[in-house]
Structures are given as C-alpha cells and as structure tokens.
Amino acid sequence: MSAPTSTLVADAEIQPSRSERRGSGTWRYVGSKVLGSLGALLFVVVFNFFLFRVIPGDPVRTLARNRLVSDKQVEELTRTLGLEQPLPQQFLTYLKNTFTGEFGLSFRYRQPVGDIIIDRLWPTLLLVGTSTILAALIGVYLGMVSAWNRGKVVDNVSTGFSLTLYSMPEWWLGLVLLAVFAVGAGPIPSLFPTGGLHSTDIQDPNSFAAGLDTAWHLALPVITLTLAYLAEYSLIMRSSLLDEMGEDYITTARAKGLRDVYVRRRHATRNALLPTTTLVVLNLGFVVSGAITIETVFSIPGLGLLTTEAMDVPDYPVLQGAFLIFSAAVIFANLIANLAYSWLDPRVRT
C-alpha cells in the first residue's frame, strides 16, 4: 500500500530546445514510452518465471509443504512444472507458453487458466472501471474546492475526511458498510445483498432486470471502492493545485487584469491537472489491490476473488496468470495515461 506520495520532486532546469519540426518530438516521446512499456512487460514475464523457482531446496517439496501429497502427486507436479528439465529449457518453454497464451491448467478447476481469467474479467472491469471514474470526478472536484478555500472550514473538513479515508483499509470500510447496509444494523434495514453478483432467482441473464440486479449487487462494492480511491485523488489534486496557485505566472496573470476566479480556473486548476494525472498514474497498483480485497469481501466473482481463492490451494498456474494479467493491465494503463499526458503537456513532447 503506497503511502501518500510526496510531491517534492526536484524540478531540474529545462534546457531550451528549438526543434523546428513539429511532431518529431511527439513521435520520439511516444516511441520511447511504448518501448519502455514493452521492457517493463518483458521484465514482468521473466520475473514471473523466477518467482516460483527462487525457493531454496526442492521446489516441489516446498510448494506442497502443508499438504499431504502422495508420491504420485509429487511426480505429477514435477512433470507439470517441467522441473525435470534443465533451467534454460524450462525458461524457453515458459516463454513460448506465455506468448501463445498457454498458462497451464488450474490445479483447482482443472481448466485452462487463460479461459478462467477471461471468464472472470468483466466483473472486475465493471467494478474497477465504475469506481475509478466516479472517484476521479468526485475526488478532483473535492481537491479543487479544498485548495480554493485553503484554511477554511470546507478545506479542513474535506481534507480531514480524505486523510481518514486514506488511512483506512478499504476492505474494512467494505466490512462496515456490509454490516450496516447489507445485514442491517439497528434501525437500518437490509438494503443491499451481502455478496455475490447475481441473485439466484434471475431467469434471463440478458434481461434488463438482470442488469438491474447486477447493479444492485455492485452498489456497495462500488461505493466502497469509490470512497477509497477518491480520498487519494482529492489529496493529490489539492496539493497540486496549491503548488500551482503559488507560482509566479499566476501573479503575471492577475497583473494583466484577469479576475482572480478566472485565473484560478483557467490557469491554476488546468495546470494542476497535469501533476495530478502523473501522481494518480503512479498509484495504479492501489486500484488493483482495491479490486482484490473488495471482491473478496463482497464475494464478487472477478479476478480479485480468483486470486485470493488461488492462495489456498495454492493454485500456482492461476497465481502466475493473475500476476501477469494484473501487471500487464497496470503497464498498459500507465502507457495510455503517459500518452494522454503528453497530449496535455507540451513540455514533454517538444
């Protein structure tokens, strides 16, 4: 869990460049970012391989340590993991399998890991997508209002609220909301289901009623995740905006006769969105961890719950596949965000 990222990054003096050909800078930037992402992906793939083979001693014995395994099972495990082959050979096999999408069979479900992951993908996307969008909108707005009213009651309350939410494990918030609104506490009746994604009595999974039912099931998880994410976004936006508001060009803008409110909006806030985007992107791992824990608490059958269930067996093929998918998703999101950022900030592409 990353602690609030400090915004104290040194600002190195930018050397003035005079590239006359427009666009060349952009392609160079895009190219370098794509290359960087591919490098990171390769690193993850290799890392994934060595994670399970870094254990001292006999891997199979260690992996099977808490379970009573027969010799036959040990043999099967050894064969599945390809451990009787020399290491370089194993690595090559692993690479080939990864690039062909072959992640092996799940120990638990006895199905191809790839299929299972695709099956469980959309609940996670729905949950995380909705929550991050809501959280970004509300959080940025809250941070903005806080910064504009620095020191006043609005700011103190909002910042205190965000700090407290940020210090809270998001799954604990989920537990509390579950207990109060799903189970019902005191005068509050049971308003939401206690878990799962679908009610058992839904006939037609493609009907509008089914859609509503899913939304009803996702309500509490989305509320929980939105609250958890927005705390961070609001704190970052507030901090970035306060930084921008103290810059010299704001004084210049005011000196030109522009109204303070206009200067705040058009100059400071717009510019503050840039470092906010950067810092938010830096914390995408938090989005993933939120998905995992909240799915577990609310029993949403997505990738997160898949991962925690895989811990028990332990279902190594699934764990490897999940690790790869999550990392690839974050790398990809990073890339998209960096590219979008370059469109917003002319300083990086010229």
Partner: protein, 304 residues
C-alpha cells in the same frame, strides 16, 4: 574587541553543536504543527501499549487453549470489548496485536528504506550504465501492482513475520528510491558538489559527506509515511490470511472476524476496534510525516 580566552573547539565539536542546534530548530518548527503533535502523542500511547503489553494483559489471555470467555460475547465488565470466536478477550488481542502490527511495520520500513535509499542514491549519483540500469529496475518494480506480487511472494515463501516484513519491504522500496533519486539529482546539481568533485572527492566521500546529510531530512519525512503504508499493507496481508498464524495482529483479528461471520452476526466489538486502531495509528504516522515535510520544505508552508 577583546579576544576570548576559551580554548577553541575542534571541528568535530563544532559540527556536533551545529547538529544539535539544527535538531532543536527542527523540533521547534515541528511543534508549531498541531496535527503533527497530535500524531506524535497518539503514537506514544500506542507504542507504550505495545511495549507494556505483558503488563496490561497477560499472555495467557490470548492463548486459545486458555480462553475462558464465551464465543463472541458482547462487551461486559469482564471483557470490555467482548470476546472472539475462541473466547479470548478482544481487548487483550488488541493490545498484543499492536506489537505485531507495529513491529512488522517498522521492520518492513527499515528494509524498504535501506534498499530504497541505497538504490536511490546510487541511481542518482552514477550517471553511467550502472546508474541508468538501477533506475530502470526501479521503474519496473514501480509498475508491478503490489498486492498480486505480495500474494505470490507470500505464498511461495511461506507465512512468517520475517517473510511478511520482507515482502512489504519489496513492494514499497521503489517509491522511496524514486524520491531519493530525485533529491540526489537536485543536490548534486548544486555548485558546492561540483567544487567537491573538482577538489578530488571520490564517489563514496561525496555521497557520505555531502549528499547524504542533505538527503536525510527527506528520508526521515518519507520514512514516517512509509511506516504508515507498511502497517496498512501488513493489515491487508493478514486479512487475506498471509500473515504468521502464530501471532495475533490487528489484520489477523479482522481475518478471523470475517471468517467466522462476525459481520452477519453483528459482532461489532470484534469488527470495529482493530480497524479503528489501524486507522488511528496510520493517520498518526501520516500527520507526522506531513508535518515533517512542511518543516523540511519551507516552500510547502505559508503558500498564500
């Protein structure tokens, strides 16, 4: 003007006196941040509770075999915070749990800060292939989402307090390294470093004598924030069942609460206190860290 008759101080004595004065000034400045002081106070309370745990609740009270209470009893005079599913006093569990949560948090932070500072200094100082490679590795680790990595590592390494601390250290060092690197780059661009280099200062000497003392304040502020993150991470990992089953921590209490259905039975005394403790302690560290940041970076203060 008459000359003094006191014996001259050695350079080392002067240096130490300056350090003490500087520390005094830092403390005076920190005192002006009420939020930081509140955080510090809270930490002292929890720290004392953790250290004095045997005095506050006997170790027997958290042993499953010696539990005397009923299952998930509501709070009463005997058990101010009720009991858990094994009949143990929740209050006792909370006190003993603070030890694990705080210790693992601090140990993990030590690992993370050590690794992060070393890599950050090196990648900021060395501009050759070595430095650049370290930076790339930092970036890659930064991109990997921490929880899947922690889950995989914990599953492979097995659950024990040390491995949990190690895992947390592994997932949190890149953020520190990035910060330290940026700070190192900034410090090394200053003229007096150039002068030191011109005078023949080697890499190690430069780093030790010039860069490190200037980086330390930021490291210090960052450390408190890292502890906050580490405690949250430990709690999450324990909740998912990845912590040492032999020890009680706030996270493992919540894991147990979840597993025995404290939610559905409404056993709030089991569910709320551990979470509240985590929030309070993490918030305390965060407030201290933010106050320290403002103390060390005047630019953050008084932004009119």
């Amino acid at each position: 003007m008459t000359t003094t008759s006191k014996p001259a101080l050695t350079a080392r004595q002067v240096a130490w006196r300056r350090r003490r004065q500087s520390a005094g000034r830092t403390w005076a400045e920190f005192r002006r941040h009420r939020s930081g002081l509140v955080g510090l106070g809270v930490l002292v309370v929890f720290g004392l509770a953790a250290i004095c745990a045997p005095l506050l609740a006997s170790h027997e009270s958290i042993e499953v075999t010696k539990a005397t209470g009923g299952v998930l009893e509501a709070p009463s005079w005997d058990y101010p915070l009720g009991t858990d599913a094994d009949g143990r006093s929740v209050l006792a569990l909370l006190i003993w749990g603070s030890r694990v949560s705080l210790m693992v948090g601090l140990l993990a932070t030590a690992i993370s800060m050590l690794l992060g500072t070393l890599v950050g200094l090196a990648s900021g100082h060395y501009h050759n292939f070595f430095g650049k490679a370290l930076f790339r590795i930092t970036e890659w680790f930064l991109v990997v989402p921490w929880l899947p990595l922690a889950i995989v590592l914990s599953t492979v390494l097995g659950p024990s307090l040390l491995t949990v601390a190690f895992v947390i250290g592994i997932v949190s060092w890149p953020a520190t390294a990035l910060l330290i690197r940026a700070q190192t780059l900034s410090i090394e661009s200053r003229p007096y470093l150039e002068r030191a280099r011109a005078l023949g200062a080697g890499d190690w000497r430069q780093m030790r004598r010039h860069v490190l003392p200037n980086v330390m304040p930021m490291v210090f502020a960052n450390t408190t924030l890292t502890v906050a993150g580490a405690i949250l991470t430990e709690t999450t990992l324990a909740f998912l069942g990845l912590s040492d089953p032999l020890y009680v921590s706030w996270g493992s209490m919540l894991d147990e609460a979840f597993n025995v259905g404290a939610i559905t039975t409404g056993a709030w005394w089991f569910m709320l206190p551990p979470g509240i403790c985590v929030i309070v302690v993490v918030l305390a560290f965060t407030l201290i860290g933010q106050a320290l940041e403002e103390v060390y970076n005047p630019r953050l203060r008084e932004r009119a």
